[in-house]
């Protein structure tokens, strides 16, 4: 008996529709977030993440409405984020029905945002998203959708974020994202080994073997993917059956 490894589909949205970037550029439409949320809830997803990757101020009400409609479909936890800059932004997302708020660029610029959210909603509701990119002997934190280096070491930032009150790390490998060449095992193992909170690995998933590898060798607590689920390359149920038969503890719904 132990904690199951979680499989988390991610809906990258423009506020209203699901889109998915390849290496964070070249967006294409992949569908309706509410329909996808209902499907993943039924297929045995352990959680759902919804991100507003456009994160423009004037589109914010549309995104909050998307969260409301998605939350209404779910009997599993929902994490939402993208462009969260203030406590008020976080509060709006929670009120719309998210269980957890994810912060990224704004937290790098102003780490107090993490403590503010953590004090109000508890550490379990604050997910620090870190986009990391290999840079010679370490990983650099990338901001603004993975486009700019924050000139900060990813492990050091993960530790600082947890100290500030983050209860979970959503770790995306910018090098692997969209490549379908597998999760970044070295990066995930390094961060997971350094912090005391759960780590969600993201970026590069394609095959069930990639998932087994990131749980076993990368010490990930959860794994996130988007397009392979949206495009029905991989069903969540079949993925979990594969993991279970390979000795990885997962929650199999009947």
């Amino acid at each position: 008996m132990s904690l199951a490894h979680r499989i988390i589909p991610c809906l990258d949205t423009d506020g209203e529709r699901v889109v998915k970037g390849v290496n964070f550029v070249g967006l294409r439409d992949a569908g309706d977030p509410v329909a996808l949320a209902a499907r993943y809830n039924a297929e045995g997803a352990d959680e759902l993440v919804v991100l507003d990757i456009a994160a423009s101020r004037d589109r914010r009400p549309t995104f909050l409405e998307t969260i409301r409609r998605v939350a209404a479909e779910l009997a599993i936890p929902l994490t939402a984020g993208g462009g969260i800059r203030t406590l008020e932004d976080g509060r709006a997302v929670v009120r719309a029905g998210a269980d957890k708020v994810t912060v990224n660029t704004a937290a790098v610029e102003r780490p107090a945002l993490i403590s503010e959210l953590s004090r109000e909603f508890g550490a379990q509701a604050v997910v620090l998203a870190i986009d990391a990119k290999r840079c010679s002997d370490h990983w650099d934190v990338m901001v603004r959708g993975g486009r700019e280096s924050a000139s900060r070491d990813a492990i050091e930032w993960a530790l600082a974020g947890v100290a500030a009150g983050a209860g979970e790390i959503l770790l995306t490998s910018v090098d692997r994202d969209g490549t379908q060449s597998g999760f970044d095992v070295a990066l995930t193992a390094a961060i997971s080994g350094a912090v005391t909170v759960p780590v969600i690995a993201s970026g590069g998933a394609k095959s069930p073997a990639h998932f087994a590898q990131i749980f076993r060798e990368g010490a990930a607590d959860a794994a996130l993917a988007a397009s392979i689920f949206h495009d029905e390359v991989q069903s969540i149920h079949a993925l979990k059956q594969f993991l279970a038969s390979n000795g990885v503890e997962v929650r199999l719904s009947c």
């Binding site: 008996m1 132990s2 904690l3 199951a4 979680r6 809830n41 045995g44 352990d46 939350a71 209404a72 779910l74 009997a75 599993i76 936890p77 929670v94 009120r95 029905g97 998210a98 269980d99 004090r119 109000e120 909603f121 508890g122 550490a123 379990q124 509701a125 209860g167 979970e168 005391t196 909170v197 759960p198 607590d221 959860a222 929650r251 719904s253 009947c254």
Partner: protein, 200 residues
């Protein structure tokens, strides 16, 4: 029968409300002492910091009517912090007093495991439980917490993460779960259904 949901501002109130409504029951959200005194069945959802819940109960003058209702035998379901507040205190805010309706105290899970204890874990049933009726051995529930009741006498199911703790508690009209039934898929729905059956 309408279920009264204590709304002290916790993040999971809307999802608990939605989960109950999906089961076809009427709900009423409140933070008024009068409504709590009149309630026929009470649900206290909670998530986040223990201090936020205890302070809200006191600032909104809900402590006395809540204790009174529970002692009168009104069916009560506490979720997550709603379980923890039933004890006399919690290490998360040791200067604050809980409702002290159950013997024992809430303590931090040991830091030898990753905390918060977040995700899907299996529970182990201990004896008879009406709230967990029909729940299979090894069923998974969603947990998100760092503190837990480690020494409760009224435990009907345990879970383990660094230490064994109370996943579910039953004592007369008091029902409480450390996990989030509103986020636990079909198993969670079953638990809420059982509670509705118990209050009907």
């Amino acid at each position: 029968m309408k279920i009264t949901i204590l709304d002290y501002g916790a993040g999971n109130v809307p999802s608990v409300e939605r989960a109950l409504q999906r089961l076809g029951t009427g709900t009423h959200r409140t933070s008024s002492p009068e409504c709590i005194s009149k309630a026929k069945a009470l649900v206290l959802p909670g998530v986040g910091h223990y201090a936020a819940l205890v302070r809200a109960l006191d600032e909104k003058h809900l402590r006395a009517p809540l204790i009174d209702a529970i002692q009168r035998g009104v069916p009560f379901l506490g979720i997550c912090l709603g379980l923890q507040v039933l004890f006399k205190s919690s290490e998360e805010a040791s200067e604050l007093r809980g409702l002290n309706l159950l013997p024992g105290a809430v303590a931090a899970l040991p830091p030898r495991v990753k905390l918060p204890h977040m995700g899907w874990n299996q529970i182990e049933k201990k004896g008879e439980s009406s709230l967990l009726s029909g729940i299979d051995a090894g069923a998974y529930f969603y947990f998100a917490h760092s503190y837990a009741a480690l020494d409760s006498n009224d435990t009907t199911a345990t879970c383990s993460h660094g230490a064994e703790f109370a996943a579910a508690i039953e004592q007369r009209n008091i029902f409480a779960v450390q996990f989030h039934p509103e986020k636990s898929g079909d198993s969670g729905v079953r638990v809420l259904q059982n509670f509705l059956r118990l209050v009907a």
